[in-house]
Structures are given as C-alpha cells and as structure tokens.
Symmetry: C2
Subunit: 188 residues, 2 copies
C-alpha cells in the first residue's frame, strides 16, 4: 500500500457522508469506495477493519470541526463573564452549521454501542478529546474542571440532537438555550 | 383488516427491537414481520407506511417508559427542594434501565432527520409529549416552564446518549450528573 494522505482524507470524508446520510449500518468499505469514486478495495487498504474506518471518520470529523484561532482569540478578548457563553455558542454554531458531521458523530456513538470492536477504538479517541477540551478550558481561563466540561458536552449533544432532528421548540434560538444553561452553571 | 390490539403491540415491540439493535435503516415492515414471527404483510396491515410504523414504535416506547404512580407519589412526598432532582433521576433511571427503548428514541429522531414523511408524524408526537411533561411539572409543583423543561430534556438526552454508547466518565454515577445539573438550574 502506498500511503497517499489526500486519498486517505477523501475516503474519510466519504465515510462521514455515508454515516450522515445513511447511518452507521450503511457504512461499509464498499459504500465508501463507491461514493469516493475509487476502485473496490481502496477503503480496505487504508482502513483494514470497520472499526478503523469509523475511527478514520471520527478523526476527520474533529479536524473539520476545529475552531478558527482568530474566532477563539476574539472570544478570549471579549468581556469576562460571558466568555464561556460565547465559547459554547461557538461550539454549537460549528456543529449546527455542519449537520452531516454532527449527525455522523451521533452515529459513531451508536455504532460503538452495537459493537465492542468499534467501542474499543472510539472510546479512547472520544475520551482523549474530552481531556483536550478540559485542558483548553483551563488554559483559556474558562471556569470548570472535568465535571463541568462534561455537563457542557451533554447539553450540547442533547441540543444538537434536538435541533438537527425534531426541534421541540423550533422558534427558539438554540444560542439562547446554550446561554441560559451556561449562566445557570456560572451562578453556582 | 381485523384490529387485534395485542398483535399491534407485538408488532410495535418488534419494531422497537429492530430500531434498537439495527438502527433506523434496518427498520422495514419485512424485518418486523420476521422478528414478530408473523406472516409477511402483517406489519403493513397495521402500519401502512414506514412513517406509521415509526409512529407506532414511538407511541409504544412512551407507554413502556410510563412512570409508576407509586414512585411518583413517593417523590412528591419527599422533601421540597430535592423533588426535581429525584424526579429527573427517576426519568434517567428508567431510560438507562431500558437501553433498547432509549436508543430506539434516538434512532427515531435520526430517521425523522432523514425523511420529511417521518418528521411529519414524529414531530407533533414529540411536541405533544413535551407539552404533557410541562403540564406534569406544573401540576406536581416542580419549578420550571417550558424553557426549563426543554433544558432538562436536552441534558437527559445528552447524558443518555453518552451512557449508553461511549461514557466519557465511566466511573461517575449519572444520577450525580443529573443532580448537579438540576441544582445549578435551581440556584438561578
């Protein structure tokens, strides 16, 4: 196998599209080859197991959701108490602007629930992501330790699941929901 | 078609199992007939469209998750400020004790995101469920109007998605996470 980074990215992006459009059950190496317009067997060369393919998709989702440094800088420069509100709203904004990525993340978790092999590779990846986020909060002076950051993750996950599927309050701005939540935590 | 309520329930239960085990994409009338051990075409007789089948599953999930009156009574009789903590913990307990139902609810939402026909029947059902929950909170003296109840739904959804798939903090008791959240809201 010749390592071709661009091809690897194209395959991971195709895997994300399949996950977002068809759900985890539709994700096969063959479906990825077809969508990427590559010969049968290409996805298997780069990602030898289904778990590896799902991990490749997960890594690529996080790359594509990476915050822009300039925006994070703006948020940091903004007024004190509302920094965490702005930051969580920015997380939410990125997820809602990329429905396919956000839905694929949910599908990845569901795939992990159904397969121990998938859970084994996805769990350490997601937990490392949490640890990195806790460190980001710490170095950027945002309040919270691990427990608080996990609460924020749960709220954002629940809110994204709601907004991208069947919004219970379609007329309410999700940014306001996030702000209400962060302010409630801050007052503790 | 002869209406047979027990058969309708058996079909809805089979639909839930398929949803929970295989995801929304695996849910076909044929898969439900096979799992229920009924002749081909039975599920189609009771639920003429895929959207009707998903609504049947949704209705049955809510029936199966109905709280026990005796437990709600106990919670109501408990000390004032912690009533909402106890109630949310009871909601969480029921969902985590029935992983198949909880995962099927997430799958229903994902199916609605992928099909306007499904969204059209699932959305009013879920919104009616929210209205009933807001009314339950009001009549049981639990604080919060619609906005607060929706925040609770988001948190519980995010927490359930986490615990039933890839728990970010596997050693932490989810009941404690729910309590931390409700107490944060109460202090506002």
């Amino acid at each position: 196998m010749v390592a071709n980074p661009a091809r690897r990215v194209a395959l991971a992006d195709a895997a994300i599209t399949v996950l977002g459009e068809q759900g985890a059950r539709g994700l096969t190496h063959r479906a990825v080859d077809v969508l990427a317009g590559l010969p049968k067997g290409t996805a298997s060369n780069y990602f030898p197991s289904r778990a590896a393919l799902l991990l490749g998709a997960a890594e690529r989702i996080f790359v594509r959701l990476t915050p822009e440094d300039s925006r994070v800088g703006e948020i940091e420069a903004s007024a004190g108490d509302d920094t965490l509100v702005d930051y969580v709203q920015y997380v939410l904004e990125r997820l809602l602007a990329a429905p396919q990525l956000a839905l694929a993340l949910i599908e990845l978790r569901l795939a992990a629930a159904r397969s121990a092999d998938v859970a084994e590779v996805i769990a350490p990846f997601l937990r490392a992501g949490l640890a990195a986020d806790v460190e980001f909060h710490r170095t950027h002076g945002l309040s919270g330790g691990t427990d608080r950051v996990v609460l924020l993750h749960h709220l954002v996950d629940g809110l994204v699941l709601d907004r991208l599927t069947v919004p219970l309050q379609p007329d309410r701005d999700p940014a306001d929901v996030a702000a209400e939540f962060v302010r409630a935590l801050r007052s503790r």
